[in-house]
């Protein structure tokens, strides 16, 4: 589904990604772990189509298309979803209007008719129930005045409504207490599907206790320095990121 080859990218002349290779197939859950500044969020945002990054080498193919030439909205319509590390507040625009606009944009692209108001509301209510979200968040402006946990749950709600093919969750676990983490994890697990791939970007192993990945990658200095099964995450937790970096001194020097 997603194939990243030798991706080099940076921002304002500063290299951040220095040769990423990553293969994600439908049905898989990948975790990308790494210390602060390793390039995790850059990778996530770049895949979602954020402007401002310069790709200096490499390629990204998504469902047989050249992803890097597509604007952000086309990527979303083609099934890519990024759950933001810092969800943005949109004053004056209700959560309901935002979700309706987004869903209709995507449905239109897929040749589906727009959902009528009643069906849409029913869909939203069902999804919100699963995430134990208060319906009062619907008429409120997007993320405005939401608690940290509400914002993260709102990201997962959007994912549940938009039903992407490739979901990238950027530090969705940060700032969540254990109860909220479980709710979010349940939401994500409920979306595991043979047709869908999920990429979890996280600093901590904690989230991976609840969403068990098929593959764990360790990102360091803009490269994937190690990949393994779920137990790699636990090993990292015990030994720290220094352990991986020590094993790759040559790369660190580069």
């Amino acid at each position: 589904m997603l194939s990243i080859m030798n991706l080099h990218a940076g921002i304002n002349g500063k290299d951040i990604l220095r040769g990423i290779d990553l293969e994600v197939r439908a049905g898989e859950v990948h975790a990308i772990m790494g210390p602060n500044g390793s390039g995790k969020s850059t990778l996530a945002q770049l895949l979602a189509g954020r402007d401002g990054y310069q790709v200096t080498a490499g390629s990204v193919r998504y469902l047989e298309q050249d992803l890097l030439t597509m604007p952000a909205e086309e990527r979303a319509r083609a099934g890519i979803f990024l759950a933001f590390q810092y969800p943005v507040e949109i004053p004056g625009v209700s959560n309901a209007l935002f979700l309706k606009t987004a869903l209709n944009s995507i449905r239109k692209q897929q040749g589906l008719s727009e959902l009528d108001a009643m069906d849409f509301l029913q869909l939203l209510r069902d999804k919100m129930k699963l995430l134990r979200m208060d319906e009062l968040l619907l008429p409120r402006a997007v993320n405005e005045g939401f608690s940290g946990g509400e914002k993260k749950r709102n990201e997962v709600l959007q994912m549940a409504v938009l039903e992407p093919k490739l979901a990238i969750l950027d530090e969705t676990d940060s700032g969540l207490d254990i109860d909220a983490l479980k709710i979010v994890a349940d939401g994500v697990n409920g979306m595991r599907d043979p047709q869908r791939a999920i990429v979890l970007v996280t600093h901590y192993q904690r989230l991976l206790e609840f969403i068990v990945p098929d593959v764990v990658h360790v990102l360091s200095q803009g490269r994937i320095v190690r990949s393994g099964k779920a137990d790699l995450a636990r090993e990292l937790e015990q030994r720290g990121y220094g352990w991986v970096e020590e094993q790759h001194p040559a790369r660190k020097a580069a």
Binding site: P71, A72, E73, P87, V88, T101, S105
Partner: protein
């Protein structure tokens, strides 16, 4: 002698036209005459005056005539304008065409006891007990106020006796019909003790008509009274519009003013309130949506004259093309007005390089133990917000419009009357790319 005076003389309008209402009533003639003298002595303001630094009204002085129309406008065209202007039925509707009350187009429904809604001209001409407060010179904050007193043709007079609650809004529609007319509406709203009302002033004109409106609304709120006042300016993009909205508030009264400026070539709104008794609440909101060469100026002034009053001001602008927005918010906390709580904010979005905003808060505080804050911003749409929307599949144009709608909506949501709120929401969306699409999803 300045240029305005010359053009005034050029107009050969040496005296107040005889056809104006109340010309046979001594106090009316006197009030008009002294206002007229004030105007003649001063002329139109120039940019050398601090209050007019950013707004150049020379063009108004160069008009062929400042005299109000004496000829009734053409009925068919006013009927057409009327149908464009209104989106729904209004229970208490007064329609004025070029400053003259149109009985045929108006429909004043049944009012509760203690409520009276009448035409100013009829009251001035009649023997009714209209006091001289109806042409009160103390409301002449600018020389345009004096000009209005001198030349006012007609307007609405709303009187609410103590305890009277008017459920449905009073809708005043001011239609500018035809080219080149000068229009002088004058309104008076008197809300008795504990009484409550909503008044909408809607100024509507043809797209390319060169008319000039100089309007003034006086508001008096007795103790515990409440008035929500919403002004919608939708005159054509060639018109000049100058408005004064001036309130006097007694203790515990509440006054809300909303000003939506969506039209006209040059508009100036002077909105003021004097908080004369303790624990008044006063909120001014405004939204200006400008394009082309439009110029809109909001000058506000709130006088805190008594303790424990609260005032709030929220003004926002979206400016495209070569448009120019001006906001000047003066708050004066007089001695003894302790425990004043005043806040003011003016936020602007510039959508083009040529658009311009001058924003100036003016806080003058002469009392202790007060809380006064203000903030002003001028900026562009936020890239993070745009990316967030686009990452959800919303195309760039729609994302822009959605953000602009949201920015405007924070002000629109403050309109108390739901019908008016929806109306303004739609008018704003009509101006945005893909706005139709957003409208359908609301």
């Amino acid at each position: 002698m300045n240029i305005q005076l010359e053009s005034w003389e050029h107009m050969a309008l040496e005296q107040i036209p005889q056809f104006l209402a109340g010309s046979g009533v001594p106090w009316v003639s006197q009030a008009r005459q002294s206002a007229f003298e004030r105007y003649k002595a001063h002329g139109l303001p120039t940019r050398r005056e601090e209050e007019w630094k950013y707004t150049d009204v020379t063009q108004i002085g160069k008009r062929a005539s400042l005299a109000p129309d004496s000829i009734p406008p053409d009925p068919p065209s006013e009927a057409a304008l009327f149908s464009w202007a209104l989106a729904q039925e209004h229970p208490h509707l007064m329609v004025f065409v070029n400053g003259y009350y149109s009985d045929g187009l108006s429909a004043i429904g049944e009012m509760p006891d203690g409520a009276r809604l009448e035409s100013l001209a009829e009251l001035l001409d009649g023997t009714a007990e209209l006091s001289s407060e109806s042409l009160d010179a103390s409301h002449e904050h600018t020389i345009f106020g004096a000009l209005n007193t001198a030349l006012a043709t007609d307007g609405a007079v709303l009187h609410l006796a103590a305890g009277t609650v008017l459920q449905d809004p009073v809708y005043l529609l001011f239609i500018a019909s035809g080219h080149g007319t000068a229009i002088y509406p004058r309104n008076l709203i008197v809300v008795g003790e504990g009484a409550r009302a909503t008044v909408i002033e809607h100024y509507f004109g043809m797209i390319d008509a060169h008319h000039f409106t100089d309007t003034l609304t006086q508001i008096k709120l007795a103790a515990g009274a409440e008035l929500q006042h919403c002004k919608l300016l939708q005159e054509g993009n060639a018109s000049f519009h100058v408005a004064g909205i001036h309130a006097e508030q007694a203790a515990h009264s509440r006054f809300g003013s909303q000003s939506f400026a969506l039209g006209s070539r040059l508009a100036r709104n002077d909105i003021t309130s004097r908080l004369n008794g303790p624990e008044c609440q006063c909120e001014f909101d405004g939204l200006y949506l400008l394009d082309g060469k439009q110029h809109v100026d909001h000058h506000t002034r709130i006088d805190h004259l008594a303790p424990s009053c609260t005032s709030r001001e929220y003004y926002r602008g979206i400016l495209d093309g070569e448009s120019h927005g001006v906001f000047n918010g003066k708050v004066i906390v007089h001695p003894h007005a302790i425990k004043t709580d005043a806040h003011q904010s003016n936020r602007n979005l510039l959508l083009s390089r040529e658009a311009e905003v001058d924003t100036k808060p003016q806080l003058e505080i002469f009392a202790d133990d007060v809380r006064c804050t203000h903030g002003a911003t001028v900026g562009q749409l936020d890239d993070d917000s745009l990316f967030y929307l686009r990452s959800r599949g919303i195309d760039a144009d729609s994302a822009h419009s959605l953000l602009l709608y949201g920015f405007a909506n924070d002000i629109i949501a403050r309109v108390a009357d739901p019908g008016m709120r929806t109306r303004i929401e739609h008018l704003v969306l009509d101006r945005l790319p893909q706005g139709e699409q957003i409208k359908e999803l609301l």
